[in-house]
């Protein structure tokens, strides 16, 4: 053993895993193969196919940019893109409002703080598909009944129009995700030193002033995180869309993700669906990269 000890010692002092070590690659092999076959290869394949007329079965011919040209004059696609943008913007604003509000409520020294945290977070654990079905019942049956009972016309016929479908999706998403955003804000709120708040109290600042001048500026970084997080999540929404409105009435509440699924697997236009998917990827990537950029910038500023 002693003979070998110096050799090991040397290895240990350098790096444990070197590029030429077989073990380094063996440790990485499963995930590299996984990522390669599940994400990278399909992405390359898909980008290539988006320039053809592939339908999933027969051999395909190269048609250049035709799919992309068609896509930008496809009113159905453009409508769904516009609808997705509108949903995302409204959802992002409301989610951050509710997320922060809930975080402020449960970080006050209430007896029920932990219990409330549990409740607000709960919808997050249940899938969007199931929650969408529950809310379908609420919008279609419960809203209707309450509307009839009190003679409120605005509560009747929900999900049967584009507008109520839109707000239905917004309410569902905000209710589902606010607890998640709340958790992020709580993490930031708890980093605020208590002495600051106490000092402000002694100086006679009321609770609104304390929020405006201490809490808000110190929680501001969380806004960037939450804003982009909610933006990319609501942009990619599918399950809730499927179970709540299924795109109806007349495909007017169809978001981009569902549009891609339907083009590819209902209309069997694989290549055209993939062209939509590539555009979708570019948009989501831009959103996410902007987030990374802002986060890095913020870290530097701090």
């Amino acid at each position: 053993m002693l003979v070998f000890a110096p050799k090991y010692k040397k290895k240990v002092e350098g790096t444990y895993m070197r590029n030429r070590d077989l073990s380094f690659w063996l440790f990485l092999a499963p995930v590299l193969i996984g990522l390669g076959l599940v994400v990278i290869l399909p992405l390359l394949y898909g980008t290539f196919y988006s320039f053809t007329d592939w339908n999933g079965l027969t051999a395909s011919t190269f048609i250049g940019l035709d799919n992309y040209i068609r896509l930008f004059s496809d009113t159905q696609f453009l409508n769904s893109l516009w609808f997705t943008i509108k949903i995302s913007v409204v959802t992002v604003i409301l989610l951050n409002f509710f997320g922060l509000a809930l975080a402020l409520i449960v970080t006050r020294k209430l007896k029920s703080s932990n219990f409330l945290r549990t409740i607000f977070f709960m919808p997050n654990l249940i899938g969007g598909l199931i929650l969408g079905f529950i809310w379908q019942f609420i919008f279609v049956s419960v809203f209707d009944d309450i509307g009839k009972l009190f003679g409120i016309e605005g509560l009747q016929g929900w999900l049967s129009t584009t507008n109520t479908g839109f707000w239905g999706l917004v309410i569902l998403t905000v209710w589902q995700m606010a607890g998640y955003i709340m958790i992020i804000y709580i993490a930031y709120l708890q980093n605020i030193p208590n002495e600051l708040i106490e000092a402000a109290k002694i100086d006679g600042a009321n609770s609104f002033q304390r929020f405006k001048n201490i809490t808000f500026p110190l929680v501001a970084p969380a806004f960037t995180v939450c804003m982009f997080l909610t933006l990319s999540t609501s942009f990619k929404m599918y399950d809730q869309n499927l179970s709540l409105t299924n795109g109806g009435p007349y495909e007017s509440t169809q978001m981009v993700a569902m549009e891609i699924v339907k083009t590819a697997f209902s209309a069997n236009e694989m290549a055209y669906g993939q062209a939509k998917a590539v555009v979708f990827f570019i948009i989501v990537a831009i959103i996410s990269l902007t987030q990374v950029y802002y986060n890095k910038k913020r870290e530097v500023d701090m």
């Binding site: 073990s23 499963p30 995930v31 219990f115 409740i119 709960m122 249940i126 598909l129 309450i146 399950d239």
Partner: protein
């Protein structure tokens, strides 16, 4: 001052009740007959129709779908935790440029939305006859490993290299070092990785809908078929939804602290 906190407490609890009201409406109406729902959706049920649940339980083939969900989620989590921790370890213990590039590729892959790769993915896996449970689990490894490796890599910085050193001097090979020394120390982050992946894999609908047949449908998939059958029969649909949620509530009840801590850790990073 005291009165003010009292009012605050009550208002907060009221908001909590509003937040729970969708579940209340689901449960009370699941116990009503079709006619009763038509008459009154808000009130408590008169006769507690447990037959709704029996029928929904049978139609959902619940034992079977629960087993399918448990198998797919359970095996996927085991595979993700095991392989991602190995990769996170290897990447953290190699300080070369190549190692950072590989990590960057995994992190970068998180930017790719599922819908952008699903069409060729399903087509490719279909060609090699892998549209089944095993194929689905492999796909979850591909989609789930990025964030997991990132979290493990971050956690590795807190584990001193002197531990590896000691193990190697004692004659352990690299896998033994990892398995017996490093992996146990990564337990807290393994919890986080496990929880974050359970939440999305258990609830995932779109991928199983493209990969699995009706025979080995998971709960969300079965729920979708089931709901399609009972669109106008809310009493059955709601009973089915209630049943489908029960496993999640049980999980939440027992692991609530870990879940909230895990989600918070995963989100802030």
């Amino acid at each position: 001052m005291k009165r003010k906190t009292y009012i605050g407490e009550i208002l907060a609890l009221l908001l909590g009740l509003v937040w729970l009201s969708p579940f209340y409406l689901m449960i009370v109406n699941a116990f009503k007959s079709k006619k009763e729902i038509f008459m009154d959706v808000l009130g408590l049920p008169e006769g507690f129709e447990t037959s709704n649940f029996v029928e929904a339980f049978i139609d959902l083939d619940f034992v079977n779908s629960l087993m399918n969900s448990v198998i797919v989620t359970g095996v996927s989590i085991a595979v993700i935790v095991f392989f991602s921790s190995m990769a996170g370890y290897a990447l953290a213990r190699n300080k070369s440029k190549l190692s950072s590039v590989i990590l960057l590729v995994f992190v970068g892959a998180m930017l790719i939305p599922f819908q952008s790769v699903m069409i060729p993915l399903v087509s490719l896996f279909g060609k090699v006859e892998m549209l089944n449970q095993a194929g689905l689990i492999f796909m979850y490894l591909g989609f789930g490993s990025s964030l997991s490796i990132f979290l493990y890599h971050g956690a590795m910085t807190g584990i001193s290299t002197s531990l590896d050193e000691a193990a190697i001097i004692d004659g352990a090979n690299k896998f033994q070092t990892f398995r017996h020394i490093i992996f146990p120390l990564l337990k807290p982050i393994s919890m986080t990785v496990g929880i974050l992946n359970v939440i999305w894999i258990w609830n995932d609908y779109l991928l199983p809908s493209l990969v699995l047949g009706e025979n080995n449908a998971t709960i969300p998939l079965k729920m979708f078929y089931f709901f399609g059958q009972y669109t106008k029969q809310w009493h059955l649909a709601l009973a089915g939804l209630t049943i489908a949620i029960i496993p999640v509530i049980i999980f939440y009840f027992f692991a609530q602290k870990q879940i909230i801590a895990g989600v918070s850790e995963g989100a802030v990073k």
